[in-house]
């Protein structure tokens, strides 16, 4: 079962002003909303500050002076003040949420769009789950920094400042007593918080492991069942689950200590204020109303202090999230359109590779590959696994950029034209047919979004899948489900054929596309392909040499080099690698046939 290393995912990092500035760029378009949000939050807090004043007035001037009329006025004022707060808060709730959600959507959109334009190499090295986390939890963490943390800093600082001013002006000694507790509170909070944070980081790590275990077991459930691994997997999962439980309990224990400690500290403050203030009231130098006012301010005072002492740590988490998001955003799509890139005119189909070198990172993949293809030719790429066949095809669609040399289509260097116009005229059918969730119709239409239903059906007919689709419960509207588990891989492949056909590409690429189609279906497809290939340049990768003997040109690739090229008969004559591969395959078939002497 998965034993993932999640540490790098969960490390909080120190506040980095450069990173923060980059993150804050996301809030720029929402400046107006942010300002509005700050105003409403300040207003709500400000209204809270009126409350102790009203209490003092009520106790000292209303009750103390037995003035019922004045008391009634104070009570009415109280109603009005809180009526206003009601309205402001309703407004605030919407403004703040809209701000947060807007920023979130922007970030998701930016990251997702950027991902779409990253080269394939980026995805080869990363697992899907981690990328999903960038678009969900990391984005959430950064949003917290940008919106709620920002709002709380502004209001907390404003509140603390306002209360200190009021307290000092009302009674200096009592103010000093109240303030004396602040450093203790700050130190206790930040110390505890640091520990609690570490504990929760551990919890998240353990939760992530649990999630990974569940995800893997769900994705691979067919294998799990085939091998009757249920018992063993449950045993291992219990272990992971147990570790998660212990981590949660450890964090809970710290939290359970922290809360009472803060409560006791606050009680000490209250005790001191009531005692000293009480003595002053007894001595007649302080009114009861002022004392009550003080106590009420104290209650409002410690909360922002606690907030601010934990802010730094909250921010660390957000910074880590921001760093991971910018890791994606700062990955330049190495492959970009040149500023003066032009649309490639309708492709005729001449393709030239001129001394192409290509390296994947530091690993050289292709070495000095040269060949030239005339429009309408069918080119077969042959060679052992890892020889570089798929790479050549990927380079043609400019999924990667070459190191040196050039690739031209109809004389246009692929780097001089827009990728969109280039790829739109190329059709690719991959080895693993991937269908998106949705109906079969939608999947075929993916090839050309504005195709009519009739065109979709024609494409399906051309590849011989129409009849099968019509027999499905909902015909063309049948949902292929996630991964298309109701369709056999041969059927999925046929759907992906129809998809490619509908796109009516000028250059067609078949990457091992027929390997999982049964013989009869393959024959159907071969027939369909013959008409399809007519008038288009096409590249075919196939292990089964029997399928490619009719190619106009066979390119034999080995170790990143083009070792042979020519027609089937030329290559057979040449007695090189192709001949060797061919004989091996054919002899094998012969050997089997020989075991059955009566065959044919």
């Amino acid at each position: 079962m998965a034993k993932p290393v999640f540490d790098d995912e969960l490390m909080g990092i120190a506040f980095d002003p450069r990173l923060a500035r980059k993150a804050f760029a996301f809030i720029k378009p929402h400046k107006g909303r942010l300002a509005l949000a700050i105003c409403t939050v300040l207003a709500t807090s400000g209204i809270g500050l009126i409350d102790p004043q009203l209490w003092r007035l009520a106790i000292d001037d209303g009750i103390g002076k037995s003035d019922v009329a004045f008391l009634t006025k104070v009570a009415l004022a109280y109603m009005v003040v809180f009526g206003v707060r009601w309205l402001v808060q309703s407004f605030q709730a919407i403004v703040v949420q809209r701000l947060g959600q807007g920023v979130l959507h922007d970030m998701r959109h930016t990251v997702f769009s950027h991902l779409q334009n990253l080269p394939l190499g980026f995805f080869d090295k990363r697992e899907i789950g981690r990328i999903i986390a960038r678009l969900t939890s990391d984005v959430d963490a950064v949003n917290d920094l940008l919106t709620s943390n920002t709002l709380s800093i502004v209001t907390d600082v404003a509140m603390i400042f306002a209360i200190v001013v009021i307290l000092v002006r009302t009674n200096l000694q009592l103010a000093l007593i109240t303030l004396s507790l602040v450093p203790v509170m700050v130190i206790a909070t930040s110390l505890f918080r640091a520990k609690v944070r570490l504990a929760y980081r551990d919890v998240r790590r353990k939760v992530a492991t649990v999630t990974a275990s569940v995800a893997e077991n769900v994705s691979g459930v067919r294998v799990v069942k085939s091998f009757s691994r249920e018992g063993e997997n449950l045993k291992r999962f219990k272990q992971v689950n147990q570790e998660n439980r212990q981590a949660v309990l450890h964090a809970a224990k710290l939290q359970a200590i922290f809360i009472p400690v803060i409560a006791v500290l606050t009680a000490c403050g209250l005790c001191a204020v009531w005692w000293y203030g009480g003595l002053r009231v007894i001595a007649g130098v302080l009114t009861l109303g002022v004392l009550v006012e003080f106590v009420r301010y104290m209650n409002q005072f410690y909360a922002p202090i606690r907030d601010l002492s934990t802010l730094y740590q909250t921010m660390q988490g957000a910074m880590a999230g921001a760093e991971r998001i910018f890791e994606i955003l700062d990955t330049k799509s190495e492959i970009t359109d040149k500023p003066d890139a032009v649309q490639i005119p309708p492709i005729v189909g001449d393709v030239d590779f001129n001394h192409v070198d290509f390296a994947y990172g530091d690993t050289p993949i292709l070495n000095d590959v040269c060949f030239s293809v005339k429009a309408g030719e069918t080119i077969a790429l042959v060679g052992p696994t890892g020889a570089g066949k798929t790479t050549i095809i990927n380079l043609l669609g400019r999924q990667y950029d070459i190191k040196s040399g050039s690739i031209t289509i109809d004389g246009h260097d692929v780097r001089d034209v827009t990728m969109e116009s280039l790829r739109r005229q190329m059709g690719v059918v991959l080895q693993d047919a991937f269908l998106f969730p949705g109906s079969i119709k939608e999947n075929i239409r993916y090839g050309r979004l504005d195709a009519t239903d009739q065109e979709v059906v024609s494409a399906a007919q051309a590849v011989g899948i129409d009849e099968f689709i019509r027999e499905l419960p909902a015909g063309y509207d049948t949902d292929v489900r996630e991964g298309g588990s109701k369709l056999s891989s041969g059927q999925k492949q046929l759907v992906s054929f129809a998809r490619a056909l509908l796109a009516d590409p000028r250059i067609l690429i078949l990457d091992e596309a027929t390997s999982s189609v049964d013989t009869q279906t393959e024959i159907l497809i071969q027939e369909a392909l013959k008409t399809l290939l007519k008038g288009r340049t096409s590249f075919v990768i196939a292990h089964r040499l029997s399928t490619i003997t009719e190619a106009d040109q066979i390119l034999v690739i080995d170790g990143g080099r083009l070792v042979e090229s020519g027609t089937h008969s030329q290559l057979m004559k040449h007695d090189g690698l192709y001949r060797k591969l061919h004989d091996m395959q054919f002899n094998y078939a012969l050997a089997v046939a020989e075991e059955e002497p009566a065959a044919s």
Partner: protein, 585 residues
Amino acid sequence: MHTIRRLLVFAGRYWQWLLLTSVCLITLAALELVGPQLIRLIVDDALKGGHSHMLAYYCLGIVALAVVTGIFTFGQQYLTEFTAQKTIYDIRNTLFDHIQRLSFSYHDEAETGQLISRATSDVQALSRFLGHGITHVVGDTLVFLGVLVICLKMNWHLALVALATSPILAVAVFKFGGKIRPLYTAAQNQRGDMTTAIQQNLMGIRVVKAFARENHEIEKFDKQSIGLLERNMEAAVVSARYMPFMDFLTAAAVTLILWYGGVQVINKVLTIGALLAFNAYLGMLIGRVRMAGWIVNMTQNAVAAADRVFEILDTHPESHVKDGTKRLTDCKGGVEFRNVSFSYSDGSKVLRNINLEVQPGEMVAFVGPTGSGKSTVINLLPRFYDVTDGAILVDGVDIRDYKLKSLRQSIGIVAQETFLFGDTAKENIAYGKPDAELEDVIEAAKSANIHDFIEGLPEGYETHIGERGVNVSGGQKQRISIARALLMNPPILIMDDSTSSVDTETEALIQNALVSLMESRTTFVIAQRISTIQRADKIVVLDKGRIVETGTHQELLANGGIYKDIYYLQFEKGEHSAESSATDV
């Protein structure tokens, strides 16, 4: 309510801990009621009543109370979490086990993303609820009742006035709960949908790029993302309508206390200390009311999450039919399909009246066009689906009478689509036999011609492969999964298209290894190439769910049926290349 009761049944196993937690909760509620009395004593007794010498004691009382409360708070919080985690641990294990025991048909229908989110984030929501929610529900109710009793005893006039707004408040809280619940569910679902959308996009990124559909994908994603924004805003609008209103109602109650209580103090019916105590008690109520909104949310969320979790748990595990009782040991490998028909749950008929007898050690090849039912036939044997009609017998016994585990352990499967787990190469090969010795693993790897590749990895057999490990090509994956099946040394072997994505050289190597391997076991093969199938003892030609031909290679050729057509089509091509090579030489 029903859902919560089911949840509590899970927690009920730890009733001793629940009891202890309750003791702490009750004590805490009682302690909380003491605080305002201290304030009353300070003001009325020490400040106004002339007992100024008592002031210091009362003040110290505040600290002492906080200390005692602290101790109980710790006990209560820790115990609650302890019980909650025990419960969640159980729920998680149950769910994990249940999911892996659900039938193939269930997994065909279910979306992986949704299933994962239920087993993780929904359970997480339950964990929060059991850890904090229940405590609040119980503790807050106790404090609420305590405050009510004390206030009524202290001054029932004032108490009634202060509580005048409560009925409206109660209605608001209730209505709020009812309105916000579906909105939170919708938001959660939308989040799940969005995650699924991202996952699908990333899985199909090659297709996206091949068709230059980036902008189309961005548009699709934006719809999801904006959908989430909208769902959250809908919830925010409802919150904005209710939450501040509830706050206002509590503020109104404070005003009433201040005004009516103040008048009573002026009329000497009430002491000023009692008024302050009253207000402190009301403060507790305010806290509870604010919490109530949050608790209602949390409870609603938890109930929604629990519903989703229970929905899975309520789905019958595999096959609806009970596990058999017989252990399949020393399986000889005789298999019989007796009048087998199969339809999917939606009624589409896949297999009709399949009759087939296979002797131990025989090799059976299934041939037929795409969608003819080949994969279904072999999925029925390990009971991934159960036959709709008829029966399948292994060694003369209906497979439904065997213990499922023993049946599957006797069957080795090399599936068409290989799945590697995020673990070491060794663990992946030893998947069906976790306690296998390394030598045996190496042996299997050698037979599958993957040993050299694994040896060449940075850490050999300990190298992590799969999603987050070293990249493994399709052909290598295939060979690992062949090694995985070989290690099991199963009496019955099923291979679905197993060699299609391996290159010529490797295919020849694997085929050679497999020839000797198949000798001693019953083998079912689905392969596209006739050359692979030719040496089968029995070739079964399927078309539209029926067996149209059965026999050996020669028999079928002599028959002159579909098989002959397929064979000649394939052979012609082979001959074509043989001819050309002959003439070329």
